[in-house]
């Protein structure tokens, strides 16, 4: 008989078979509890899974939809990248666009513009925001503050059901005469006003999406402020909750001006008004019949008044996720939690007064440009503070390199690169050369792709066991991470070079005919190949994801309720907390801050927010699943 192996759980040593037994027991008890709670209240399938009012299911609806849109937005760009690397070359795969859009497999310039506009729109409004706010916010925030649900469950449902039609309208616009919107995601008039019908669809779609976001943000703010569990003071919020709170305020107050702008543009397109149309326009030789007297810059102001705060909507939840994962996997409190919170609030506030840094080259005078440059430099400081605090949090930790942690760690330098390259853009004088070049594209992709997307990946790997009761496979997770990290840099790093060379963005042929673009143009091949490899790198993730969802649906669980030994309330709830029956058996009471890891003098290295007696062992088996897995592998 082989000698009995021991493994460490917290500070205790257990025999492997003992541990396995404990784990099975923990999972069994949970399942039983869940069954008990499900009992007696059969709900129709439709109420439960389609028009659900449960924040967890709505979060999952958002999540699935947004992931599909993410993949779709990525696919559009993959097609565009073929054209960028090998202009006017025929590709079999481009035939999927149809004979009118890509005759003989060669993409038309109109098509390129459509795909570009839709890539931007889909990524920002239909993929990242719904994933970061709609999915993670919805699922995690009520759990983390110890609430039974969102404050207005029906409104929550309505929010999803505005998002989906908005998304479908956007997709449907590809089939409109003239195809989808093709004036960039920024939709600058007059171009967008004289554009084909797809633009009208785009505007209508935006109205739906804006409505959805407004409903969502009201709900989040009320939930966070009103439904906090007993003892959950603001300074005991996990950073993720703070990030979502600030985000909601940004959505609430910045989106309406875009809604107004969308209405005005709709009027210009449909009712023939001239809000954005100056007098005396001559388009392809014909004098336009509009009354004139409008101002095209008005749109830009209203658009950026939203779109700048929007970019912080893209980043704040990501920072929130990273903060959770970092604290958990360094096994120590976040460094400078208070300054991070202060910085996030200040960041949100400032984001309303920097918008015109996207408009330096619209003829800005010295005074107004000085104002917006100054605010732009000021707003970089809170980002620096947050990032610095995260870096400092690593010091003295006991760092576990699991998949969520890898993604969260990679977020730091990647966001750093993106943020740093924002600085030369924020100074009007250096923006002259860089504006509307690939430098800008590189800047923001570093923040949203290896930045936000990586943070979202971290979040998916981190909360997957909470949602499903299964851990995602670590090995394939790491493969996914390393390949993604390499290839995503392959796509975006050369953009800085291209931008410095002066290659304009939104060029159908990637600048092939410009002499000044010539040396840098060649990197397009590397970038496109990297992009396709990046797609391939997602395969392990997608398989890993669906396999484990499938196994979870079959009821095969391998994770306890708190597999990461985390301290926040989301881990106090059972695994996949039952739908529509509240989140907690007993409403939790909060006794301490969010990140009490490695508190000296305690047996376990984590002290959950809701555990009253510090000496009691944390419920739910803690490190068991991981430890068992290690032991099994080693045995």
């Amino acid at each position: 008989m082989a000698p009995k192996r021991q493994l460490r759980v917290g500070t205790q040593w257990l025999y492997v078979d003992e541990a396995e037994k404990l784990l099975r027991e923990a999972i069994r008890i949970q399942e039983e509890e869940e069954k008990k709670r499900h009992g007696g209240h059969p709900q129709s399938w439709i109420r439960r899974y389609v028009f659900s009012t449960d924040h967890k299911w709505i979060g999952l609806q958002y999540g699935f939809t947004a992931l599909l849109f993410l993949l779709f937005g990525f696919s559009l760009m993959l097609l565009m990248r073929l054209q960028l690397a090998w202009p006017n070359k025929a590709f079999g795969i481009l035939k999927v666009l149809g004979e009118t859009a890509a005759p003989g497999g060669v993409m038309l310039p109109e098509t390129y513009n459509q795909l570009g506009a839709m890539h931007g729109t889909i990524m920002v409004f239909l993929a990242i925001v719904p994933l970061a706010v709609g999915a993670f916010g919805n699922y995690v925030v009520p759990l983390q503050i110890g609430a039974p649900d969102m404050a207005f469950p029906k409104l929550n449902m309505a929010s999803y059901w505005c998002y989906l039609p908005g998304g479908l309208l956007m997709l449907g616009s590809f089939f409109a005469p003239g195809g989808a919107a093709n004036s960039g995601w920024t939709s600058y008039p007059p171009l967008s006003v004289i554009a084909t019908q797809g633009q009208t669809w785009w505007l209508l779609g935006m109205v739906f999406l804006i409505t959805s976001s407004l409903l969502g943000s009201v709900n989040f703010i009320v939930t966070i402020i009103q439904l906090r569990a007993k003892g959950m003071t603001f300074m005991r919020f996990p950073f993720f909750v703070w990030a979502q709170l600030v985000t909601s305020f940004l959505l609430l107050l910045a989106f309406p001006p875009l809604e107004a702008a969308a209405i005005l543009q709709l009027m210009d397109r449909v009712a023939g008004t001239s809000f954005f149309m100056p007098s005396g326009l001559v388009v392809s030789g014909n004098v336009l019949a509009n009354a004139g007297g409008g101002n095209p810059l008005l749109w830009q102001h209203l658009f950026w008044f939203l779109a700048h705060p929007e970019v912080y909507v893209l980043i704040l939840p990501a920072m929130g996720i990273v903060a959770e994962v970092l604290a958990n996997n360094t096994r120590k409190p976040l460094w400078g939690y208070r300054s991070m919170v202060g910085a996030a609030v200040f960041l949100g506030f400032m984001s309303f007064v920097v918008w015109a840094h996207h408009m330096f080259l619209t003829g800005m005078g010295t005074v107004i440009s000085a104002f917006f440059q100054t605010t732009t430099m000021i707003i970089s400081i809170p980002s620096v503070i947050i990032l610095t605090a995260m870096f400092m949090s690593l010091w003295g930790g006991s760092i576990r390199f699991n998949t969520p942690m890898l993604f969260a760690l990679a977020f730091l330098p990647m966001f750093g690169i993106g943020g740093l390259t924002g600085l030369p853009l924020g100074l009007a004088a250096s923006d002259i050369h860089l504006h509307d070049t690939y430098y800008v594209i590189g800047h923001f992709h570093y923040v949203v792709a290896p930045g936000t997307i990586f943070a979202l990946f971290a979040g998916i790997y981190y909360w997957f066991p909470k949602v499903t009761g299964r851990m995602l496979n670590e090995f394939w997770g790491k493969v996914h991470f390393w390949l993604s990290l390499i290839f995503i840099n392959g796509v975006f790093a050369p953009m800085f070079y291209q931008g410095l060379a002066g290659i304009s963005r939104r060029l159908y042929d990637g600048g092939a005919q410009y002499a000044h673009a010539n040396p840098a143009f060649k990197s397009n091949v590397l970038m496109t190949v990297s992009a396709w490899c990046l797609l391939a790198a997602q395969v392990p993730f997608i398989v890993n994801f669906f396999w484990n969802v499938f196994m979870a649906v079959l009821g095969k669980r391998n994770a306890g309720p708190n597999p990461w030994q985390a301290t926040t309330l989301d881990w106090a709830a059972t695994t996949s907390p039952p739908l529509a029956h509240g989140n907690f058996d007993v409403m939790p009471v909060v006794y301490r801050g969010p990140y009490e890891y490695s508190l000296p003098g305690h047996e376990f290295d984590y002290l959950p927010q809701h555990v009253e007696v510090p000496e009691a062992p944390p419920p739910g088996g803690g490190m068991l699943p991981e430890a068992v897995a290690v032991a099994r592998r080693e045995a």
Binding site: P109, P296, G397, L434, H435
Partner: protein, 255 residues
């Protein structure tokens, strides 16, 4: 750093460009220092505090407040960048050159997908223009009856300048927003219908057969990618010679 960036950038043939490049270099220094500094720290920390080497985390964490100095440092450098560089540079960018410097005045009318370059001719006066007069032969809508229009020259996609002489380009557009970009001159300015925005710069080098380009930087429709013009910078004599070979638009139209 400036030299390093220059390896990736187009040459700089303007009087003000070097200042802009200086600013760019200083910002990139700041970025580099932060990037390298934090990256080294990051790698060190990941190695030093990995769980296998450091099984018990420290509750208190970092005690040093060096990072606050780093943050303050960033803030100070940003103030310097703003006050010392960017704001004064922008103020120069928007202040028009004095008439006494005899700047070359040009109107530039963008349209889908080309650049109409309108020279005032010998009299230095731009003729009256009117959208109603726009036609395929009269792209900027010159009113040939206006005396000021008699000697005006209109060319397409070709911008001729004189080295050493300041130029004021009055930029506007007939249809949608374009952006007039001269990478070698470090000049970029949106061309916005309904507005006429004057940018000024001084070319200091002649193009001498090199291909210098006007690029359109703002998405303006399906032909955005091919809205390319050429820039020629001549010596004074060559410029005069070129000018004398041009037929005024009115004469070309036969009126």
């Amino acid at each position: 750093m400036k030299e390093f960036l220059a390896r990736y950038m187009p040459i700089d043939a303007s009087a003000h460009g070097s200042k802009l490049d200086d600013l760019n270099a200083v910002v990139h220094w700041l970025m580099l220092v932060l990037f390298v500094g934090w990256s080294l720290y990051f790698l060190y920390v990941l190695w030093r505090f990995r769980a296998s080497r450091h099984p018990k985390a420290s509750y208190a964490g970092a005690q040093s407040h060096i990072s606050s100095y780093a943050e303050a440092g960033v803030a100070i450098v940003e103030v310097i960048l703003l006050v010392g560089f960017s704001i004064p540079l922008w103020s120069k960018w928007t202040t028009q050159p004095p008439k006494s410097s005899n700047p070359l005045e040009i109107r530039l009318v963008a349209e889908q997908f080309l650049w109409n370059v309108h020279y005032p001719g010998a009299d230095g006066i731009f003729g009256r223009t009117d959208v109603k007069l726009v036609s395929s032969t009269n792209p900027v809508g010159l009113d040939y009856a206006d005396p000021g229009a008699k000697d005006d020259i209109v060319s397409i996609n070709q911008l001729h300048l004189e080295a050493g002489r300041a130029v004021v380009v009055r930029i506007t557009s007939k249809d949608v927003i374009h952006s007039f970009s001269l990478p070698v001159m470090r000049v970029k300015q949106d061309a916005i219908p309904g507005m006429e925005i004057p940018v000024h710069f001084t070319p200091v080098k002649t193009s001498d057969g090199a291909t210098w380009e006007i690029a359109c930087a703002q998405l303006c429709g399906l032909g955005h990618y091919r809205m390319r013009g050429q820039l020629f910078v001549h010596t004074r004599a060559e410029f005069e010679k070129w000018l004398s070979t041009q037929t005024p638009a009115a004469a070309a139209a036969g009126s």
